[in-house]
C-alpha cells in the first residue's frame, strides 16, 4: 500500500460533542465515560410499544424540548439528535457561537438508513389512508436518509458539501475518511464529521427480526476536523487523524477484512504494531467480543483495556464508531499518560464492512 497523498493535509480533530445516553453535550459524555456508568434502562412501553424491554436512550430527549417549537414540528428523532449535537459543538455553555461556519464548512454524517421509523410511518399512512396520497407531506423529507444532514446544514448554516454516508457500524470511521478527502482536495476548509442513530420501535423490530440480540442504544457524536495548518482561532488539535482504511467482506467472517484494515493504517502511517497505546473496538454484544478478541490478539490486553467498553451505551448502530472516537477523546482529556499516544479504532458492521482508523492524541 502506498501512503495516501491526502495524508499531506494532516487533518486534526479540534472540537467535538456528543448527545448520548449519558446526556446532552460533551460534559455529560466525558463524565459518563470516566464513571463507566451503564445506561440501559427499562422502556416506557406506552411510548415504545416494540419488542424491547430495555434500551439505552438519551435521557428525556424530545426534539421540541431540546430545540424549541419553531421548525421542529415534523423533525424526527435522528434529525433532532444530529441538529442538537452540532448545536452543542458550535456553541459554548452559555449559548454563544464559538465555531464559525459558512461556505467552507462541510458536513459528513454517517447513518444506517436514516430513520426507519419515519420511512415506515410514511409508507404506512399511504397504505392505510383514504387515498394513497393522504400522507403528511411535511414528513416526506424524513423518509429519505439524508434528511438529518440537510436539516443540520439549514439550522447551522453549513454551506459546504453535505454528505450522508450509509455505513452502519462503520459509518463513523468511513465519514472520517471521506472528510479527509474533502479537506485534501480543497472542497472544504473545515468538516463536521460524525454519525447518528435513533432508537425507535421500527428499528427495534428490524433488529429483532434480523436476529439481533444486543440491547439497542442511540446517540450522535460529531467532530470538527480541520487541516493542521489551518486550525481556527481559539482551538487546538486534540488528535491527528493519521490514517483510515476500510474493507468489505462477503463471507460471514469479518476477521480478515479487519486484520487487513489494521495492517493498512499502520503501513500508511509508518507505525509499528507495538507502538499502539490503545486499541478500541466499536461493536457490542457477541460481535463486539469477536472484535475485541482480535484486537487483543493484535495489540495485547493492555492496549484494549485502556478504554472503557462500548457496551455502556448499548448498540448505537451507525453512531457507534463516532461515539468511540468521542470516548477516546474523553479519556485523553483527563489522562496525562495519553498525551502523544497512538490509538487504533476499529469498527465491524454485520452487513459487510470493516474499518480502522489510527489517531495520534495531542501532546
Amino acid at each position: 500500500m502506498s501512503s495516501p497523498a491526502y495524508a499531506a493535509v494532516r487533518p486534526v480533530i479540534t472540537a467535538w460533542s456528543a448527545v448520548s445516553p449519558f446526556g446532552v453535550g460533551r460534559k455529560f459524555f466525558v463524565d459518563g465515560v470516566l464513571a463507566g456508568q451503564p445506561t440501559a434502562a427499562p422502556l416506557d412501553r406506552e411510548q415504545w410499544p416494540g419488542p424491547d424491554e430495555q434500551a439505552c436512550l438519551v435521557p428525556d430527549f424530545s426534539v421540541k424540548e431540546v430545540l424549541g417549537r419553531k421548525g421542529t414540528r415534523s423533525m424526527d428523532r435522528v434529525t433532532g439528535l444530529a441538529v442538537s449535537t452540532i448545536g452543542q459543538l458550535l456553541h459554548d455553555a452559555d449559548g454563544n457561537r464559538v465555531v464559525r461556519t459558512g461556505e467552507e464548512s462541510a458536513l459528513v454524517l454517517g447513518t444506517t438508513m436514516g430513520s426507519a421509523q419515519s420511512t415506515m410511518d410514511f409508507v404506512r399512512d399511504s397504505f392505510t389512508g383514504g387515498q394513497p396520497h393522504h400522507v403528511d407531506p411535511a414528513r416526506m423529507p424524513n423518509s429519505v436518509m439524508n434528511c438529518a444532514a440537510g436539516q443540520c446544514a439549514i439550522w447551522h448554516q453549513l454551506r459546504g458539501p453535505n454528505t450522508t454516508l450509509a455505513g452502519g457500524g462503520a459509518a463513523g470511521l468511513l465519514s472520517l475518511d471521506y472528510a479527509r478527502r474533502l479537506l485534501h482536495h480543497g472542497r472544504a476548509g473545515q468538516a463536521l464529521v460524525g454519525a447518528a442513530e435513533e432508537y425507535s420501535t421500527a428499528r427495534a423490530w428490524l433488529h429483532r427480526h434480523s436476529g439481533g440480540t444486543t440491547v439497542l442504544g442511540e446517540g450522535c457524536a460529531i467532530l470538527l476536523v480541520e487541516p493542521a495548518a489551518a486550525v481556527g482561532e481559539g482551538r487546538r488539535p486534540l488528535a491527528e487523524v493519521l490514517a483510515v482504511q476500510s474493507r468489505f467482506y462477503l463471507d460471514a467472517d469479518p476477521r480478515r477484512a479487519l486484520a487487513a484494515s489494521v495492517r493498512d493504517v499502520l503501513t500508511d502511517a509508518g507505525v509499528r504494531q507495538e507502538e499502539v497505546w490503545a486499541a478500541v473496538g466499536s461493536a457490542v454484544g457477541e460481535p463486539g467480543e469477536h472484535e475485541h478478541a482480535q484486537l487483543r490478539a493484535l495489540f495485547g490486553d493492555a492496549a484494549v483495556n485502556r478504554m472503557p467498553g462500548a457496551d455502556l451505551l448499548g448498540d448505537t448502530g451507525a453512531a457507534s464508531s463516532a461515539l468511540r472516537i468521542a470516548t477516546v477523546l474523553s479519556v485523553a482529556e483527563r489522562s496525562a499518560e495519553a498525551a502523544g499516544k497512538l490509538v487504533v479504532l476499529s469498527a465491524v458492521d454485520p452487513y459487510g464492512t470493516a474499518a480502522c482508523a489510527l489517531l495520534r492524541l495531542a501532546d
Binding site: 414540528r73 383514504g130 393522504h134 411535511a138
Partner: protein, 83 residues
C-alpha cells in the same frame, strides 16, 4: 348552520396554525401566510394535504395561489366540499 361554519373555520385555523407553527392569536383572516408569517411553499402543500385528510375532500394544486390567508383557505375548502 352558523355553528357548523364556525366550527369549520376554527378547525381550519387550528390546522393552519399547527402547520405554520403559529399561535392562533397571531393569525387573522386576512394576514398572509408567506408575507406576514414567513411560511414557505412546503407549508402550503402541507395545509392542502391536511385539509384533504381532515374534511375528506380533494383540492387541486392549481388552487394553491388562492390559499394565501385563512379567508382564501376557507373559500377553496368550501368549494371543494360543496359547503
Amino acid at each position: 348552520m352558523t355553528a357548523m361554519v364556525e366550527e369549520r373555520i376554527s378547525k381550519i385555523k387550528e390546522i393552519v396554525c399547527e402547520i405554520l407553527e403559529l399561535d392562533e392569536s397571531e393569525v387573522t383572516n386576512t394576514s398572509l401566510f408567506v408575507d406576514d408569517h414567513g411560511a414557505d411553499s412546503l407549508g402550503s402543500i402541507e395545509i392542502l394535504a391536511s385539509l384533504e385528510k381532515a374534511f375528506g375532500v380533494t383540492i387541486e394544486q392549481s388552487e394553491l395561489p388562492r390559499m394565501v390567508n385563512l379567508d382564501g383557505v376557507y373559500e377553496v375548502t368550501a368549494e371543494a366540499a360543496g359547503w
